[in-house]
């Protein structure tokens, strides 16, 4: 068929056919035209791809179903919070990094802990060997927390703490630390990740099995609703699910399924949904597939609003809103030609902003090699500042709303998430689906599929399977942790155990043991134990003794 372009007046349907014919005949590049998640993509989207009513599917910013954003003004009132995740070495070193970031215009703190802390071991435990201060800061006691927050006005900053299994204990240290600074817990603002379900599924830093862990989470929700009302009690996280290899749709589906499980548990514990749901927040990955990521953020808002209002009967609009933090995708970064990571991170950060994030962490270029240097962190922060101050993208709310492509993707992701919700339901809910290894297997399947696509060259990674160069080691400076940190932590703990009132500490641990056997609020006991200078490991040991250990299902 030849295409007659000379006709100037053609009906719309003819024009579409003409284009299609021309498209079909043309030579195409030899790559797979799929999303990063492997979903097929049309070459063109149009009105026929976006059925549905504008009002009910999108609404207006700040109103149900929040597809376009949770605030009526979005970034015209306030930019997103620039929150760089930081933590390494000792509490003192991380305190210095916090002050460095605040001095360069960062507006909130975000704490990374080391593995012993994340697993509920003190720095001097046998399992902590070689790990102290490596991937985050070592915090074993209230005394360490006081050093971490030293000279930082806790009533003024908001602090995010990425910790899960021992999250209620770390929150207790934070509350007690505030009290020692003379700050009323009612004034404390921040977030504790406290999302144990995704730990079993993807991130793998747990303390005790699911049921007692979920009980502690409802204890945190109940305690904070009354005493720390500005605190976000769970940051329901897709980030780790995605980083473990999931697709965008799986990240969306598993995260929201976990969120709904927390809502069910809160209600089952006798809490009013509108008492705790407004304090649930979310945390997503922003990966390289620009439009798919933007659609994912929009779909998350719409799904959650519908579920909370229609399934869980929440009446307070704040319960319906997905407020979320975003981190750019660590897995998208390459060890090869590491400076290119600055560019990847900038695209991912832009997607998060166009998707309406409330706060953002941008990764540093050197993170596939080591913890970031100050220079690399500053470039990452500046990347956000350039988006905010120079590109003018923050002036218009949901600027891609109405794009046929983005709306079609948003609808597709919502439908895929619904299919996963039904499958999880069929398996008896999120906890059985996780204990059976179903969610882990789904994630693993996607990870393998992506790796295979990279190895056969159908997914391209610059510097890895295309445009590769012979490289003689990293061309950038690396940040290394001094092994002295581990020795100093041992000393600090020994001194603490000698200095404290031993009888008082023992009493506080006994009271935790009793509370494990009853339905008393455990967070309340943890705060008392923090003040009695009980250590993280001592408290966690009581929990492990009372509740047992989590056993990882075999999926391989």
């Amino acid at each position: 068929m030849t295409i007659d372009r000379s006709r100037t007046e053609v009906r719309a349907v003819d024009a579409r056919e003409l284009w299609q014919a021309e498209f079909d005949q043309a030579q195409k590049r030899g790559v797979e035209f799929t999303s990063l998640s492997g979903a097929p993509l049309q070459p063109l989207y149009g009105p026929a791809d976006v059925p549905g009513e504008f009002e009910s599917e999108l609404g207006y910013p700040g109103s149900f179903p929040y597809t376009r954003g949770v605030h009526p003004t979005m970034y015209r009132s306030r930019l997103w919070t620039m929150r760089q995740f930081a933590g390494f070495g000792s509490a003192k070193q991380t305190n210095e990094r916090f002050k460095f970031l605040l001095a360069h215009g960062q507006t909130g703190l975000s704490t990374a802990f080391d593995f012993p802390t994340l697993m509920g071991y003190d720095s001097d435990h046998a399992h902590s060997l070689g790990e102290v201060g490596q991937v985050g800061v070592a915090i074993s006691s209230l005394a360490d927390m006081e050093v971490l927050m030293g000279g930082i006005p806790m009533a003024e900053v908001s602090t995010s703490m990425t910790i899960n299994g021992p999250a209620p204990i770390m929150l207790a240290f934070y509350i007690a630390c505030g009290e020692r600074q003379g700050v009323d817990p009612k004034l404390l603002r921040g977030t504790v990740q406290n999302d144990i379900l995704k730990e079993y599924q993807a991130q793998h830093a747990w303390l005790v099995p699911a049921e007692p862990a979920l009980r502690m989470i409802t204890d945190v929700m109940g305690y904070c609703a009354k005493r720390v009302p500005q605190w976000n009690t769970i940051s329901i996280s897709g980030y780790h699910i995605r980083e473990a290899g999931s697709t965008a749709a799986q990240e969306l589906a598993f995260t929201l399924a976990n969120g709904m499980e927390y809502v069910r548990r809160g209600k089952a514990a006798g809490l009013d949904v509108d008492e705790f749901a407004p304090r649930l927040s979310f945390f997503f990955d922003s990966h390289l597939d620009f439009f798919e990521e933007i659609a994912k953020f929009r779909a998350a808002r719409r799904i959650w609003a519908r579920k909370l209002r229609d399934t869980f009967g929440a009446k307070d609009p704040r319960s319906w809103m997905v407020r979320f933090h975003t981190q750019t995708a660590g897995v998208s970064l390459t060890a090869q030609q590491p400076e290119n990571n600055i560019v990847r991170t900038a695209f991912e950060a832009l997607a998060a902003v166009l998707g309406g994030t409330q706060s953002l962490h941008t990764n540093s270029m050197d993170e596939t090699l080591s913890l970031p240097t100050e220079k690399a962190v500053k470039i990452a922060l500046r990347t956000q500042q350039i988006i905010a101050e120079e590109t003018e993208v923050a002036h218009v709310i949901d600027p891609l709303g109405g794009s046929y492509y983005v709306e079609a993707l948003t609808n597709r992701l919502e439908a895929e998430a619904e299919r996963y919700f039904a499958e999880i339901e069929r398996r008896g809910g999120v906890v059985p689906a996780t204990e059976q290894g179903y969610i882990q297997k789904e994630i693993h399947r996607s990870a393998i599929a992506y790796q295979a696509a990279v190895e056969r060259g159908s997914k391209r990674v610059v510097g890895v399977n295309c445009y590769a160069e012979d490289e003689q080691g990293p061309t950038i400076e690396l940040h290394k942790i001094d092994p002295a940190v581990e020795r100093e932590q041992h000393q600090r703990l020994a001194e603490l155990r000698k200095r404290r009132d031993a009888a008082k500490a023992k009493r506080a641990l006994d009271e935790i043991r009793d509370a494990c056997k009853s339905s008393d609020n455990l967070l309340e006991r943890f705060v008392a134990a923090a003040h009695a200078d009980c250590t993280l490991g001592e408290i966690a040991d009581v929990l492990r003794a009372e509740f047992g250990h989590y056993k990882e299902p075999k999926i391989l």
Binding site: F115, H127, L129, E455
Partner: protein, 142 residues
Amino acid sequence: MPMTQRKIRVLVAKPGLDGHDRGAKTVASALRDHGMEVIYTGLHQAPEAIAEIAAQEDVDVVGLSILSGAHMALFPRVRAELAKRGMGHVLLTGGGIIPQDDMAALEAQGYTKLFGPGTPTEAIAKWITAAMEERLKNQGAQ
């Protein structure tokens, strides 16, 4: 019995507290696809436990995956625990987030080759196969 009759047996292990297992599981699956018998330890393994499993399963290769920065403390301990159990002969390898000068130090200690991020699984499988063939040849020459 000539060793070629037997499939290469590999233990993929996660020492320490780090929970990042995407790489370990991806490599384990790929080695299986290349016809090896692969045992995966699961997460959070102490060096003693890794050596114990290696001995019980009588593996030819131990591959450690670590992204926590604790490699300089844990890798030498795994090696020592293997030697204690008469498993000093196994082919030791591994990968993860390991700075290059640390890689060189560990390779000098007997970790024949360590792989960094972005390595194709194909390259790892080929390297193991070639290293095992090399060993077999040397054994035959003795």
